[in-house]
Symmetry: C6
Subunit: 71 residues, 6 copies
């Protein structure tokens, strides 16, 4: 939980770029849920996605299978 967040990691930087560019992404979860929207913020535990109505979903990293740009 309290482990340091490595903002220098390529994966962290790619998510950071997605935030800056307000890029639409898809997050596939271990539950098989597919969460689509824009990345609002990330921290060491979670990634927050907002949908078209600006409703946030806070996704725990341990539950993420993959992230990709929305097709």
């Amino acid at each position: 939980m309290a482990e340091e967040f490595n903002t220098g990691l390529p994966s962290t930087r790619q998510v950071q770029t997605a935030i800056k560019n307000k890029q639409e992404v898809e997050l596939k979860l271990l539950t098989n849920d597919l969460i689509a929207g824009k990345v609002k913020w990330q921290d060491s535990d979670c990634i927050c996605i907002v949908d078209h109505y600006d409703q946030p979903t806070i996704v725990w990293r341990h539950a993420i299978a993959y992230l990709k740009p929305k097709a």
Copy 2:
């Protein structure tokens, strides 16, 4: 288990805000269960949700896929 709880994380603070505002939330679990209610407390391992009858459910963080405000 005994790792320090980082109360400064955005995700932790958002959960803290939900507690303070007695906001209704939905927790989606890796079991695909959906737990709805108000967040009562959180610690480094768990988040406690109480339902309309004030019955608590202690959810382990490792089992959480996502949290969002109840629609």
Copy 3:
């Protein structure tokens, strides 16, 4: 495995209270099994539940989704 067990955590204390009060609880597991009974003991890795015949089930914490008082 050998990490220190934080007995001061709210979640740990609630489980401890359930032990002391011989309270009936339900443990939902990531396998979707539901284990019901009284909490006998806990350590940093496991929670032990005993059923009506005093048969123990040692549940690993990493497999627990949630715990709640039996309805």
Copy 4:
């Protein structure tokens, strides 16, 4: 992987007792497999179960949901 194995934990000691007593146990896994047999050895990563033909199955702890004495 290399973390120290805490042989003083109640859960570890109960498994150790099952080894000494050649007790029949059931291991329920996150895959929903049920492995039955006697516990041969344990280390910080795994628990080894041998069946009636003395065939070993090395089970990773992270995959274990629960352990109980065979009914």
Copy 5:
């Protein structure tokens, strides 16, 4: 998250070789998704696969079951 990335591990070096050789691989995920393509980069948290249209998929390591050369 911030733990050091051990580039000397055989598994890490094999992934690095796949990147250098632009080798087609298959990643099987815990969701049972099969991601096919070339490995673009890896870090301590993720492995990035690009498909035939050069679309990236950032896969979290914790969600990977196995990797093999595409048949």
Copy 6:
């Protein structure tokens, strides 16, 4: 990722013995896949299995449920 690999663990030594003896094994994964073949190498993150055509499959340890000698 970079944690030290404890080659003294019984489980690690048994896998090492399987490598030396070119023993056929079965790996059951959390995806319920069954990977059969010979163990080629192991490191702290992965175990590599090669099939009859000498094709390697790099399996992440976190995805392994159990390993047993092929029947």
